[in-house]
């Protein structure tokens, strides 16, 4: 096996896979996409100059792969509509909750669903910052953003999540609220 692949697999495979999974919310698709990440990495590995860390470089590629897959999923009609209305740039899907999530408690399931309400950018930040526990700097490097953009996007994303959590939990009644209050 390729030594580059070997090393990358050992160091980052599960992280990249998980990142892709939370972005596309589908295990099979994430499996496909992680392969795509390797293909792009292996093709351009010589060009990796070490300016950024290996990890953020790898994640920036993974992010591009994820965004490309969203573009492919969406039809051209949606894409054109999106050009006129930036606020609708959300990727919705009605896929059933994967097993890994379904076995978790209700709040986890809730927040997993609420992720759908965020824009792609917001979701990128949420996944990187809180699920993968990237620093602001790492997130900014991976996304090619400034740190302040990361901060504002993260702030907006949390606000949306908060609102969504409150609405859905409100709808589903007291039970889930109790759980929260037990804490």
């Amino acid at each position: 096996m390729d030594s580059v692949f070997d090393e990358l697999y050992r160091k980052y495979h599960h992280d990249v896979f998980q990142f892709l999974f939370y972005m596309v919310k589908n295990k099979e698709q994430a499996e496909d996409l992680v392969q795509e990440v390797y293909i792009r990495v292996l093709k351009s590995y010589e060009r990796f100059e070490g300016k950024s860390s290996e990890k953020t470089w790898l994640f920036s590629i993974a992010r591009n792969v994820a965004i490309d897959s969203f573009r492919k999923q969406k039809g051209w009609k949606q894409r054109i509509l999106e050009k006129f209305d930036w606020s609708t740039s959300q990727v919705k899907d009605d896929q059933p909750i994967p097993e890994d999530i379904a076995v978790q408690n209700e709040e986890i399931q809730q927040i997993y669903k609420c992720l759908d309400q965020c824009t792609v950018d917001q979701r990128l930040v949420i996944v990187m910052r809180y699920i993968h526990e990237f620093s602001i700097l790492e997130t900014a490097e991976s996304l090619g953003w400034t740190e302040s953009k990361v901060k504002t996007t993260q702030h907006r994303a949390l606000k949306i999540l908060k609102k969504q959590m409150e609405e859905t939990i409100g709808k589903e009644g007291m039970e889930s609220e109790k759980i929260r209050m037990e804490r």
């Binding site: 070997d6 495979h13 998980q18 939370y22 927040i111 409100g170």
Partner: protein
């Protein structure tokens, strides 16, 4: 309804509790998938462009000939219009082409219905179509082809400098220029390489013609290449002779750097050049395999009579890579009328005279040889066909004006 309140911290904590998701596949399986996909992609990268290129080439080949046909059919229509107005401007060549087509059509339309374009539009259509894909298969320049142009002949050696091929070009006459001026000027424009011949012109010499006495002075530089070996010398003699034969010149003087005389190798120093042309047999020369039309080239010893020359034309001249210009299956007797400068060729029984390209070129070789022997017309008798290409064998055929017509860029 009570609004539950979530702090940022609570949300962050909840997010950090999100389950770890693992790819359960074996890394080897993943690696295999990757390599397969990378190879596939490589293939795709060249399949698409090459498919597109192939398609483009196909389209190109379909469209380009159509474009040309379209243009030439336009021209044809214009020509027909010109002709009906009996306009003076119509060039002799196109005129001849049309005559030829008419003749061809009339041969084919054997039901002997008198042909007129107005009465039979179908025939006219056919004629137009035929004239599109028919090119003039003759090689020489004929009187009716000149159409007020000036004919210039340059004898150009072949690649191996074994003989000189007279090549004729038609150029537009210009009022303030003599034929000699045009000759000198166009010496620069010859496409020898493209014609499969040796790059020979312009000659490394200066030409000065005294218009009064018709004495031509050719001034060579000291380091001229024409005396380098006997082959170069011979071919120079032939080339210059045939080149100057078409110009009206009484005497040719050679100088070197202004001083009389020119050193021509074995021949020694020459002060006066006597062109040697005439009384040669003409053979076929194919410079390369792609050429369909042969050059018809004078070569070899001088003959004392035309019947000897014509007999020699049945033999290949292997030394100079020349082919016999008269096939074995054509036999004939010759009869000469020196007073009227006419030659009669009486084909023997069993001679194969067909209306095809090779017979056409044989007739041209005979005509050019007749011209070399100073005849003005040739009558061919006892042929089984009336027409061979543009030649009407029932009538006397005038000898060509010059051999091997080529066009200048």
């Amino acid at each position: 309804m009570k609004k539950s309140e979530w702090s940022d911290e609570q949300l962050k904590e909840l997010l950090s509790q999100m389950p770890k998701i693992k790819d359960e596949r074996d890394p080897r399986e993943i690696y295999q998938n990757i390599t397969i996909r990378m190879n596939k992609r490589k293939q795709r990268t060249w399949i698409m462009p090459s498919a597109a290129a192939a398609l483009a080439a196909v389209l190109f080949f379909i469209l380009v000939p159509n474009l040309f046909n379209w243009q030439s059919s336009e021209e044809q229509v214009a020509d027909l219009a010109n002709q009906s107005e009996s306009s003076q401007k119509i060039s002799m060549k196109e005129n001849a082409d049309l005559q030829e087509t008419e003749e061809k059509v009339s041969i084919e339309e054997e039901n002997a219905i008198p042909y007129t374009a107005e009465q039979n539009p179908e025939v006219q259509d056919k004629m137009e179509i035929r004239s599109l894909d028919m090119e003039d298969l003759t090689t020489a320049v004929y009187e009716e082809d000149i159409g007020g142009m000036e004919v210039l002949t340059y004898a150009i050696p072949d690649e191996k400098a074994m003989m000189a091929v007279p090549v004729s070009v038609l150029v537009a006459k210009e009022e303030d220029k003599t034929k000699f001026d045009l000759f000198e000027e166009n010496m620069m424009n010859l496409n020898e390489k493209e014609w499969g011949l040796k790059d020979y012109f312009p000659l490394k010499a200066e030409f000065m013609l005294d218009e009064q006495s018709k004495v031509l002075t050719v001034d060579f530089p000291v380091d001229h290449p024409y005396g380098d070996g006997s082959a170069a010398e011979t071919v120079f003699n032939v080339a210059l002779s045939y080149t100057l034969s078409a110009l009206d010149i009484s005497e040719i003087k050679f100088t070197t750097d202004g001083k009389p005389g020119m050193d021509l190798g074995n021949s020694g120093v020459i002060e006066e050049f006597i062109p040697e042309y005439g009384n040669h047999a003409y053979y076929f020369y194919y410079p390369n395999e792609t050429v369909k039309k042969p050059y018809i080239v004078p070569y070899g010893e001088k003959f004392s009579s035309i019947s000897e020359a014509l007999a020699a034309m049945k033999e290949n001249q292997e030394k100079a890579k020349l082919f016999a210009s008269i096939p074995d299956d054509i036999n004939f007797e010759t009869e000469v009328n020196q007073e009227e400068k006419k030659l009669t060729i009486h084909f023997g029984e069993g001679s194969v005279i067909n209306n095809d390209e090779s017979t056409l070129h044989t007739i041209e070789a005979i005509l050019l040889t007749a011209k070399d022997f100073n005849y003005q017309a040739v009558k061919m008798e006892n042929a089984k066909v009336e027409m061979v290409g543009r030649f009407n064998l029932t009538e006397e055929i005038k000898v060509p004006v010059a051999a091997n017509k080529r066009s200048l860029p």
